[in-house]
Structures are given as C-alpha cells and as structure tokens.
C-alpha cells in the first residue's frame, strides 16, 4: 500500500473476529461506519472509537483504529477528556439504549449540552442484550422480559427528545439496515460539535422485529419520514402522506394528501435549525422521522477550551512556574 492510496472499508476493519449474534443489526451499522470513514477522509491513526458496556460497545474492537472499551455508561466522559487534550482526534462514541439512557444518562446529557466535537451513536434495540434480555428505558410499556414477566410498567423515553432537551445541536435518526445510514453518519461527521445519531437496531435474539413496522422493505416506506431541509414533509410509497401542524393542539399530525382538501401547501416544511419542529416530529405515532431532525451550529466545547488557554497564555505574559511560586507575598530569610 503506498502512503497515499485511498483507504477502503477493509482498511478500517480490525483483525478481530466479530462476535455479535448472527443477524444482529450491529453488523450493518459496523459496515455503514466502515464505509463512511474512507468517504469522509478519516485516517486510521486519528480516529478513535470509545464505547461503554453492552453489545454495541464491543464495536471498537472491530475497528482498525484507536479504541477504548470503557465502563458502563461513561463513554461520553472519557471522550470529553480525550477531546479536551486532543482536539486533533476524530472521536466517535458508541453506546446503546441502556448504556446511554439508564446508567449513563447524566453523561449523555452533559456531553451533548457542552457540544463536545464528536459523533455520538446510540444503538437503540429497546432491550438489554448483553445481560440477556431485560427491558430497557426505551422498551414499550408491557414488554415481557425476564425482569418484567408481567410486562414492563416503565414509561419509555424517546432518545432524540432527550438529546434535544439536553441542548444537542445535531440530532439525527437512522436504522441499522438502511441504505441512507452512511449519509446520516456523514452529516454527523461533518457537523462541528456533538452529533447525536439514534440508530434503530434489531436484536434478533431478545427483541426481534421490534422495528419491523419501520424497517420492513414493503411496509416501511409508509412509516418512514425522511427529512430534507427546506422541503415539505411528505412520505409514503408515492409521497402521498404528509405531516401537518395542528394549530389547535400545537402538535404534528399525519395527513393524507388529497383527503379533506389537503395539499402540499398545508404541510410542515422541514427547517433543521428549528428545535421546536424537531421536537414535534420526534415522536410521531407509527411513523419515524429519519435523517437530520435538527442541526444548528454553536460554540464547540473543545474549541472554547483552547481559546481560554490561549487567552490565559496571553494574559500571563510569559509567567512561568517560578513566578507562580512567587505570586502574592513572599519574604526572604537570610
């Protein structure tokens, strides 16, 4: 391989045997990431994958980049420390619904609101896979699992709403086997700041088919609202469905074009920079908004850290450790 030969998907695959269950959605996500990296010009040595604990968190071992498989829920904190001292690195956080929304909820909140420049991929399979199938914070009410034999009574959370509420400035959604997933990842990578991507992921062992409605090849298009900035929100096989703002309830509702005189002009137009719109479409009944829900530039944490250091250095005017020790009152004993 000559030095300048473009990298390929294969270059980003490590020599480790991938150990997810056959048919696990994680395989497709791994492939999508490995396909995306060469496209965005990533290098092997400057890319770092940091994960917590869970099935998804095995991810770094399969990447021929730097990787850190840390502890449960804390990956965002490790990534923050790393980015602060090494803003030159391209950092990806890999996490799951349990890792991010149960044990690590606090850290996800803070890495997003600080807008640390990294990509945050949340693999949502609505179940605890690694610990053998308990319900998770995204499981539906009624989910039967070893720890909820009579059905889960916990109200589930909507990950993208948590992200929006935390102040995330890039919020997107995709699903494991989607052809567009690399595009979503590319957009996340391009964004300067914390890019949050929820990836719906099928766990064939403990929660098989939980997203079938959305991801099924035939029925799926009726339930996938792919977003495009500046375009009216339409979906369905022939674009016959749409999303309209109900001015009475201030909520988004699904409508069929042509019915009751509804035309495209009645539909919500997607504005990525509008947090309220992102919120409205984050949790539509039986329909998943996909692609970039929200994107708005803002101060980047690691950048601000650097600016403060620079400012402090300028103000210090060459003060060093020796002058530090002499700050304030000193006296000489002779």
């Amino acid at each position: 391989m000559t030095e300048n030969a473009p990298l390929t998907k294969k270059d980003f695959s490590s020599d480790q045997e991938v150990r997810w269950c056959p048919g696990c959605g994680d395989y497709a996500i791994l492939a999508a990431v490995q396909r995306t990296l060469p496209k965005v010009g990533a290098t092997l040595e400057n890319t770092v994958f940091i994960s917590g604990i869970g099935c998804s968190s095995r991810f770094p071992y399969y990447m021929n980049t730097y990787g850190f498989h840390t502890i449960h829920g804390r990956a965002p904190a490790f990534a923050t420390g790393l980015k602060v001292v090494r803003p030159d690195l391209d950092v990806w956080v890999i996490s799951g619904d349990g890792d991010s929304l149960s044990i690590g909820g606090n850290h996800m909140l803070h890495v997003l609101r600080r807008n640390v420049n990294l990509q945050y991929l949340l693999f949502n399979n609505q179940i605890y896979g690694l610990t053998k199938g308990q319900y998770s914070p995204t499981s539906d009410v009624g989910q039967i699992s070893p720890s909820s034999p009579y059905g889960s009574i916990d109200q589930p959370v909507t990950p993208v709403r948590i992200a929006l509420g935390a102040g995330a400035r890039f919020v997107a959604r995709g699903y494991d086997v989607s052809k567009q997933l690399p595009d979503v990842l590319e957009a996340a990578h391009r964004f300067q700041g914390a890019s949050f991507v929820e990836i719906l992921q099928n766990c064939p062992v403990f929660n098989d088919g939980v997203f079938d409605l959305i991801t099924d090849r035939k029925k799926g298009p009726q339930h996938q609202l792919w977003l495009e900035h500046g375009q009216p929100m339409t979906f369905g096989k022939n674009g016959e469905m749409g999303v309209r703002l109900n001015p009475q309830t201030l909520s988004a509702e699904i409508v069929t074009l042509g019915e009751n005189g509804i035309t495209e002009a009645d539909l919500l137009v997607h504005d990525e920079t509008n947090r309220n719109i992102a919120w409205l479409i984050a949790d539509l009944p039986d329909v998943k908004a996909l692609g970039v829900l929200y994107r708005e530039d803002g101060p980047v944490y690691d950048e601000s850290v650097r600016q403060q250091v620079q400012m402090a250095e300028e103000r210090a005017k060459g003060a060093d450790l020796k002058s530090l020790l002499r700050e304030g009152h000193t006296w000489t004993v002779s």
Binding site: V48, F68, I71, K83, L325
Partner: protein, 634 residues
C-alpha cells in the same frame, strides 16, 4: 507618612514583653468572618518572619443559624521564634466574638490566658442560644483568665459612622476592628491587610474604606485606651528559619502547584477533572488558574465523569488527574479499576475528611487508607502516597506524576482537610534542582502490541492515538498478556493479576528506604505515623527524647507499596505504636503485611492529634510507664 505608619510608629515605642511562641484562636459566628481574620493575621505574621502553622475549623453549613454553638467558626494560629510543626494545642489567646464562641472554646483556653470578648454580642438572646443561663462574663466563669471585654460591635460601628453605611455593612467591620487590636497586641504590620482589602473591594471602595477604618480604629484603641492590668503588648521575635525565599502555602495550593510542576517535569500537559467537594474544591480552584502553565481543568457533571475524563485524557497522552474526598473516591472506584486494567497513568488526590458516608465534611480524618489501598473490585493494586505537611503536598504531587507515568498505573495521593486548609511558611523549592522525568511515547511499529512491557519496571508502552501504525484497542476486559487481545484464559488471568501486582511492588525499589525521622534504631518505643500527623508526632517524640527517653519517629509517605527496610527498623524496637486518625487502618495493614506486633493509638474525633496527648501516650509505653511491656522473664 500614612496613618498606618504613624500608628505603627507609636505602637513600637511601647515596651513589649518577649514571647517565644503564641497560639491564638479566633472564634465567632460563621458569618463573623473569622477565617478571613485568621488568614490576614497569618499573612502579617509570616511577613514578620515568624514560623507558623494554622488550623481553620469551621462548620459544614455555610451559614449555620446565627448565635448557635454549632455555627461557631474558628481559626487557630501558632507562631513562634523557632521552627514549629503544628498549630498548637491549647490557645494562649482566645478571641470570642459571641457567647457561642466562648462556650465552645473557653474550656480549651490556657489558665491565665488572654480572653478577648465582644460584649456587644452578649445579649440575652445570644446567651440563650449558646445555652448560658447566666452571663459568663458576670458569673465568675472568666476569672481564671485575663479578660479584655470590649463592646467591639459598638466600637466598630462608631469607627465607620462617618461613612453612613447601612447597618449590615457597618456591622460587618467588627472582625477588622478586632484584627486591628490583635495586630497592636502582637506588633504586626497592618499594611498587608490594607493592601488586601483595597484589592478585594476594588469595586466597592466604601466597603474597603470602612474595613480599613475599623482596622485602624482597633489598632488605635489599643494604643490609646487604658488596658486592664495584666494585659500588655507582646513581641514574638523572628524565627531562625533556613535562609531562602519563603511564602505561606496551604496544602491544596501546594498540591495544585506540584501537579503543574510534575506535568512540566514529565513534559506532558496536565488534565484535572473534578467535581466540587469539601475539602478538595480549592484544589480545582487553584488549578483552574494555571491554564497558562499547561493545566486544563474540567468541572465534570459528577465524580465518575471527573475520573473518566481524566483517564480519557491519559489515553490521549496527558497526565490525567482527578481530585476529591472520600465519598468521591468511592464513586470513582470502578473507573480507577479500568485505569489499572488498561495500565494508564492516573492520579487520584484524596483530600480525606471524616467518614463514613457524608460524615464530617469539614473535619479531618485519615480513614480512607483502606479505600485507597484496597477499595476496588478485583485484585486491583495501585500506588498509594501520603503527604505529610502542606508544603510536602508539592513534592508528593511531583512524585505521583513521576511514578504514575513511569509505571503506567494509577496513584492515589492522600492528604486531608487538615493540611489542605492549614497554612505554613514554605521555603520555595529550587525548581531547577528537581530532575525532570520526560515521558517517551512509543512510536515504533516493529512488533508492536499494546501490552509490550519494560522488562525492568513491567510498565507497558504508552502509545497514544494519532501515532501512525500503532492503532490498538484497550478496555476493561481481561487482556492476553502478550497480544493485548481479550482473553478469558484461566492461566492468563492468573498471570495478569500477578503481573499487575508485581509492577506496583517494583515501585518499592524506586522510592526511598524507610528511615527514622528522629531517634535511633533499637530503642524502647517507635512511633509510626503517616500523612498529616507528621508535625504532632514529631514534636511529641522530640519532647520525650529531650527527657531522655529512647523514642523514635518513623513517618510513611509510601503507603503502598511499603518502603524497603521498614520491617527491620520496626523489629529493632521493643514497642511499636502506630498513631493515626482512624480506627487502626495502617495498624491492620502493617500487621497483615509485616506480621508485626504493633500497637495502635487512635483518635477519631475529626481533629488532629495534640502534641500533649501524644506525649502522655508515649510516656505510658516507656519503661516504667503504665502500659510498659513487662520486662522479659529471666
């Protein structure tokens, strides 16, 4: 000539009684500004050339209900014309700003000691809140002392009346009035406090002026008012300190500066992740000011994020540091284990306080020794160091950086509330004389694997992200000792546990051998201490040695691994006493490790040892004492 100079000129004309050392305790309500008063007295005293040690003692509540005994805040300073190591036992002088302060502190004032009382605060209500049925200033309670009772509340109000301040602001100047009086009594210069007030209240010049007026008024009062008999002015001559440049320093400041210096010596940036906690917060405050010296601070969302971010920084090639107190260390345990498993440098500063749980946040204790040495899941060894004095925090912080980066392992550095907040004059170290220990990152791709080791230290290589060709993955799952790949192999796990232990054990070869601070091997009694009890134990041993006892003092800075030569030294004594501020943690560790027949001496009161109580204790163990070992049967 300024007012201050004039006033100083007058005061210096009075004959001053010579004293070699004085212990003053300032006590008042937590809103009375006693900590500030004490600190200002400390600065002025240091500038006079006295040696000194201080002990701030304040309630956990920021503003406990006014006038109550549990809202009493105290600041003790011991200063002398000779080398001193502790803030002193019983005070010679007590300043009591209200009845509650008197109630709490009077029992400790030396008989015949000077008692300065603000009678203005001795109202019926305050007396009741303090639990007094009768006024102690009138019922003979203060007879054993030399009482100077003044209505400081009123005197300070009068002093600032011309400024027309609100009652609240004017009332707050009484601590400066008192300080002025104390400056006069002990012949201290007011200028450092005037400078400080002008800087602190630069944006509120009337407040600055009020405080300076009150300070001067207190001083002038001393000069001009007739003092009760037995109360005069004093002089404590300069101490014979080693020649050099000095400053006052508290432990957290020294620790912060030591970490910054350690980073420079290692040629690495320092990353400090922390979540505010008493008594470690000022470590974060101090480090946050050092951005120009290669230190980045990160106020994390919680204790766990703080340590994780530090480890992330170490992974990236910085010195990752986190600081906290005992409850925080408990939260960080899992992450520290990860740093042990991934063999990354990490420094955990544990500024200990009373425990368990929230315990006594503002009180000192040495009860995190077990937690530091053993407090993690699995067999998880790391290096444990303990600083002895405020100034020693500087050197131990450097040592922590050196060992952590050389051995690729976490280091827990133990200090405590007592040295973190206590100040002492500190001879500025010669930075050029400290040998640097620059870190060399691994860059060689030839046969690289992440758990490649230095055959001597057993430290693994440090290959940081961004290095071409060295891409690798680390994590908390057990790794194959050669390839670094995940391994569940039973023999490999056994070998890795032993390897991590051996690596930490190797540190003993790299640190000073155990030596006696005082005394000679083979004596009757050896007192072993660690951490902040250094000063009290040393003074107590010195005291008993002077009386001819065969006593010695050994102080541990290396808690884990233990230093070489410790066992032989201990065995050469007839009796070994382990003195510590906990329920016998070092005692149990030494008994387990060295099979030594040591005796424990414990104090678990949230307070440091008094020299006098240690002297008493040592004496009971000396031949002929009540606890002496029965002489061997012939």
């Amino acid at each position: 000539m300024s007012d201050v100079e004039k006033a100083n000129g007058t005061a210096s004309e009075l004959p001053r009684e010579l004293l070699d050392s004085v212990v003053i305790r300032f006590a008042g309500d937590s809103g009375d500004g006693m900590q500030l008063t004490g600190m200002q007295f400390t600065t002025a005293t240091a500038l006079m050339g006295n040696d000194l040690a201080t002990f701030p003692d304040f309630p956990a509540e920021i503003r406990a209900p006014a006038g109550t005994t549990y809202g009493v805040s105290g600041f003790q300073i011991h200063f002398a014309d000779h080398d001193i190591l502790t803030p002193g036992d019983a005070p010679d002088v007590l300043v009591a700003m209200n009845p509650a302060a008197l109630k709490v502190n009077l029992p400790e004032l030396k008989r015949g000691g000077l008692l300065v009382v603000n009678t203005g605060a001795f109202t019926k209500g305050n007396l009741k809140k303090a639990g007094y049925d009768t006024n102690p200033l009138e019922d003979g309670s203060t007879d054993p002392y030399r009482l100077l009772d003044l209505d400081i509340s009123k005197l300070s109000l009068n002093a600032v009346a011309e400024l027309g301040l609100g009652a609240k602001d004017a009332g707050r100047t009484k601590n400066m009035w008192t300080l002025g009086l104390m400056f006069w009594l002990f012949g201290r210069d007011r200028q450092s406090t005037v400078d400080w007030l002008e800087k602190k209240f630069a944006k509120k010049p009337d407040i600055a002026q009020a405080n300076i007026l009150a300070l001067n008024a207190g001083h002038i009062y001393g000069e001009s008012a007739e003092m009760p008999s037995g109360i005069g002015v004093y002089q404590v001559p300069k101490a014979e300190l080693e020649p050099g440049e000095y400053r006052n320093i508290d432990g957290n400041q020294a620790l912060a500066w030591g970490l910054a210096t350690g980073g420079k010596l290692a040629s690495l940036p320092v990353f400090y992740g922390s979540y505010p906690i008493t008594p470690a917060s000022s470590l974060l405050h101090n480090l946050a000011k050092l951005k120009h010296l290669g230190v980045t601070t990160f106020q994390a969302e919680d204790e766990i994020a703080a340590v994780c971010a530090a480890i992330g920084a170490s992974f990236g090639g910085a010195v990752g540091v986190t600081g906290t107190s005992g409850p925080g260390v408990a939260l960080k345990g899992e992450a520290i284990g990860l740093a042990i498993a991934t063999e990354l440098p990490l420094i955990v500063c544990d500024v200990q306080r009373g425990g368990p749980s929230t315990g006594l946040p503002t009180k000192t204790e040495q009860s995190d020794l077990f937690q530091a040495v053993w407090g993690r899941n699995g067999d998880a060894p790391l290096i444990v160091l303990a600083a002895a004095t405020p100034g020693d925090c500087f050197h131990m912080a450097i040592e922590a950086v050196r060992l952590s980066t050389k051995y690729m392992t976490p280091v827990v550095l133990l200090t405590d509330g007592y040295i973190a907040n206590g100040a002492e004059p500190w001879k500025l170290p010669d930075l050029d004389a400290i040998a640097p220990f620059p870190v060399h990152f691994h860059t060689d791709t030839e046969g690289f694997f992440p758990f490649q080791r230095d055959p001597e230290t057993l430290a693994r290589v440090w290959a940081k992200p961004g290095t071409p060709g060295l891409q690798h993955r680390i994590g908390g799952l057990e790794k194959n000792q050669h390839s670094g790949h995940i391994s569940y192999d039973p023999d490999n796990h056994h070998a890795m546990v032993k390897l991590r232990a051996q690596k930490v054990a190797n540190v003993a070869k790299d640190v000073p051998e155990a030596t006696l601070e005082l005394g000679e091997a083979g004596g009757d009694v050896l007192v072993v201490g660690w951490g902040s009890t250094y000063g009290s134990i040393r003074q107590a041993v010195q005291h008993t040695m002077k009386k001819g006892a065969k006593v010695a003092h050994l102080h541990l800075r290396n808690i884990w691994p233990l230093p070489r030569g410790l066992e032989d030294l201990m065995k050469s004594f007839d009796k070994v006493i382990i003195a510590e501020l906990n329920d016998g943690q070092l005692l149990k560790l030494l008994r387990a490790e060295l099979l030594t027949d040591a005796i424990g001496h414990q104090k678990i009161a949230g307070q440091p040892f008094r020299v006098s109580e240690l002297v008493e204790m040592i004496e009971t163990h000396l031949p002929g004492g009540s606890d002496a070992r029965p002489s061997a049967v012939a």
